[in-house]
Symmetry: C2
């Protein structure tokens, strides 16, 4: 099938690269993904990796714009894009960085991340999803949470990011279940809802006991034959409950919008519900594409 | 030098093996160590590893007793020793397990670990240090803390362990500083006392924010050029402060005795002091040797 993209959207993170061929009216014509994330690429490898994924979508008679967000714009990425500083709009089109390419049929724009000085914090990629969410909800004032390896809790007011806070809960879950003695007691995939709920309560109510509650997953498996799926679910609940304790000021008295993978967003929704919090999901892909689309359109309106 | 041991003490943990040749009046005649820990050995490799370390200390005209404690008695170790259950004396000499050997000039006794059913918890090795400490302080009633990969807080009454709680703080420090993005921001060895103290306060006062405080070590290094030694020291303080929050019931209103490596025990002593707690150090080696010595002597008195 011969697909020619009007423009191309790319979400290029630490471990994955996702690309969409976009047609008229922001329709998605095609999608491709790769596990060639930023962390595995040298600077000169970004262009060939990108071309391999999108080559078939290019029209040789014109220059196709590629709008990219994520860690591709980090210091270790393709080109470093200087952070915007809060309070700020999530995407400022006058601040896009162009990644120079040998191929003359593409022009690659990178969306900068956002930083906060006090307390110090950073994001790269999430600003685009926030921009997309705001595009779809221009009058929104409140709290957005983006679950992930490094979950972000973000306050939004008048289309601006006013402050945010990152919790490395996802990364902690990864290293604890893969690199500590707890790996002997947890399953890779299984799930037990009741154990997740126990974990949510424990983590939330006794945050200082986390180091002990984690060890008890191992002890429980040795002393009381704790099931591996139960251990994994309780671990997940413990770490999320801990985060929800720390992030209370964001979600108490706020209906939180969750933008993340469906699986993870559902966990956050459940966790909040167990603790009396309210939330709803917003599609991660829709947020990403709407954010990149707004950057593309403004670019286009300027050049016309 | 021709050293012949009266008996041999061995502390055989997950990652290390330590052996002492003991003479009259519990004098240490020689010491050897190896990094052939339990985790790297198959069942049939324990005897050859032990012999290589202690062979020169054996008298061919008699059988030398080897008193060993630690993970060598775990399921994955040489021979599994069934746990004692709290409340219990730390070492019950009627419960030692003999590891059978091909060599007829040694007789190897393993000290069992201690378990707790509710809440589930386990120790292997620390019971011997606790026994040693109690030997030297027979009237002690109170709290002992054994810092380490898996720190133990232990209540002792009338020479018995009444309850205990494990915090996997040391293991968390290891995986966080080696396997998360924080590794890019921390040094391997450096130290900054002021940063350690900041960490102690943060971890203790806002335990639910740990996932965010950890990420901020990375953000601070990117946004505000946080020094690597400062980041490492703050990480150490954060995790210890978190543990000291959880373990408050053990150390508030108690003068805690710390039994661990000098470096780690000093950190715990400092951390407690910063938060208004009192503690003093007791030598780890003295505790281990006194514990194994008491097991040896009782054995000997029975066989006489």
């Amino acid at each position: 099938m011969d697909i020619k993209a009007k423009w191309i959207a790319a979400d290029w993170g630490t471990t994955h690269m996702r690309a969409w061929a976009i047609g008229d009216n922001d329709s998605v014509l095609a999608y491709r993904e790769s596990n060639e994330g930023m962390k595995d690429l040298q600077q000169n490898e970004f262009e060939p990796v990108l071309l391999r994924l999108i080559e078939n979508w290019l029209d040789d008679n014109k220059v196709t714009n590629v709008m990219a967000c994520g860690m591709v714009g980090a210091k270790q990425g393709w080109v470093e894009t200087p952070y915007l500083k809060v309070p700020c709009v999530p995407i400022d089109n006058s601040q896009l960085t162009i990644a120079s390419t040998k191929n003359t049929h593409i022009k690659v724009y990178l969306v900068p991340g956002v930083m906060q000085h006090q307390p110090a914090d950073i994001m790269r990629g999430e600003e685009t999803q926030i921009a997309g969410f705001i595009n779809e909800n221009p009058n929104f004032n409140g709290v957005v949470c983006l679950p992930g390896t490094h979950a972000k809790w973000v306050s939004i007011k008048d289309r601006h990011i006013t402050s945010f806070k990152t919790y490395m809960t996802g990364e902690l879950f990864g290293v604890i279940s893969n690199h500590t003695l707890i790996r002997h007691s947890t399953s890779i995939k299984g799930w037990n809802q009741a154990s997740f709920e126990i974990g949510i309560h424990e983590g939330f109510e006794n945050p200082g006991s986390i180091g002990s509650d984690l060890f008890s997953l191992r002890s429980e498996s040795i002393v009381n034959d704790l099931d591996r799926d139960e251990a994994r679910s309780r671990l997940s609940g413990l770490l999320l409950g801990l985060e929800l304790n720390g992030a209370q000021s964001y979600w108490k008295n706020n209906n939180v919008t969750l933008i993340g993978s469906e699986l993870l967003s559902n966990n956050y929704h459940q966790g909040l519900k167990i603790l009396g919090g309210e939330s709803q999901l917003f599609s991660l892909e829709a947020a990403t594409l709407s954010g990149l689309s707004s950057a593309y359109k403004e670019l286009n309106s300027e050049s016309e």
